[in-house]
Amino acid sequence: MDLTEEELLLQLNQPKSRSRAFSFVVRSYQERIYWHIRKMVISHDDANDVLQNTFMKAWNGIDGFRGDSKLSTWLYRIATNETISFLANKRMRSQGSIDDVEASLLQNLQADTYFNGSEIQLKLQEAILTLPEKQRLVFNMKYFDDITYDEMEAILGTSTGALKASYHHAVKKIEKFFSEEN
């Protein structure tokens, strides 16, 4: 099946073809959305849960999607919201514990069988985990996925100027992290 975005939207709006079209959407976007989530929640199991919630939210909210933005932007927005709520819940649950969420994410990363990074890659993840959540999100989207600021603006609802400043600060903090390490 090879469909344009317009054809896909048309099929998604018709009850008869909806599930088939949505199955196509899942197959087309699942990897990109998964990696977007995974970079934030670190563990595969958590990423899997958030990814499932993302697609089920999208499925239940198709009627509300009017095609004002690209399908991928809409999915990224849902995935981002789901990821932020997941981390907020994790933060709430870990209140009172000695380690904060970022420290526990780093611990998970070191023990993760689905992470086989070099020393540099592990250190970089450690540095990224020192960033505030929104900055971490912006850094990951720009640095690893090379998403344009315009697209990021549509996904995150933050102005391009603010996003550029956020990315700049993130880069500076990471460079500082490495210079202090040595």
Binding site: S19, R20, F22, S23, V26, R27, Q30, E31, Y34, W35, R38, K39, H44, N48, L51, Q52, F55, M56, W59, D112, Y114, F115, N116, G117, S118, E119, I120, Q121, L122, K123, L124, Y143, F144, V171, I174, E175, F178, S179, E181, N182
Partner: protein
């Protein structure tokens, strides 16, 4: 060797070192299909063709049964007809003679 200044420019740093279990994305997509109640055309087609085969099999059985029953009924009817025909060809006096002869033979024994 880590170069602290240009770490972000290194190709290795940009590569994600995360991985996923084998066939994860195929399985994930199938799981979502199940949750939204979507059946693949291929599996639906396969199911439909199996249903056709089963229906044909049942049809052949029923038709066979009907033919067999009709055939049995016809055989029985033919036998009956033959007996009536044979009896109709023999007159009453010959029949009496035949029965008398039969009973005499039995008495002699």
């Amino acid at each position: 060797m880590m170069n602290d200044k240009n770490i972000l420019d290194e190709k290795e740093a940009k590569e994600l070192a995360f991985s996923v279990p084998e066939n994860y994305f195929d399985q994930f997509a199938l799981q979502i299909d199940k949750q939204i109640g979507y059946q693949h055309t291929a599996s639906r087609k396969l199911l439909r063709s199996w249903m056709y085969v089963a229906a044909m099999f049942v049809g052949v059985l029923i038709i066979g049964q009907v033919f067999y029953a009709t055939h049995k009924r016809n055989l029985a009817r033919n036998e009956e007809n033959y007996e009536s025909y044979v009896l109709s060809q023999v007159d009453e006096s010959s029949m009496v003679d035949y029965y008398v002869e039969q009973s005499n033979q039995t008495d002699h024994k």
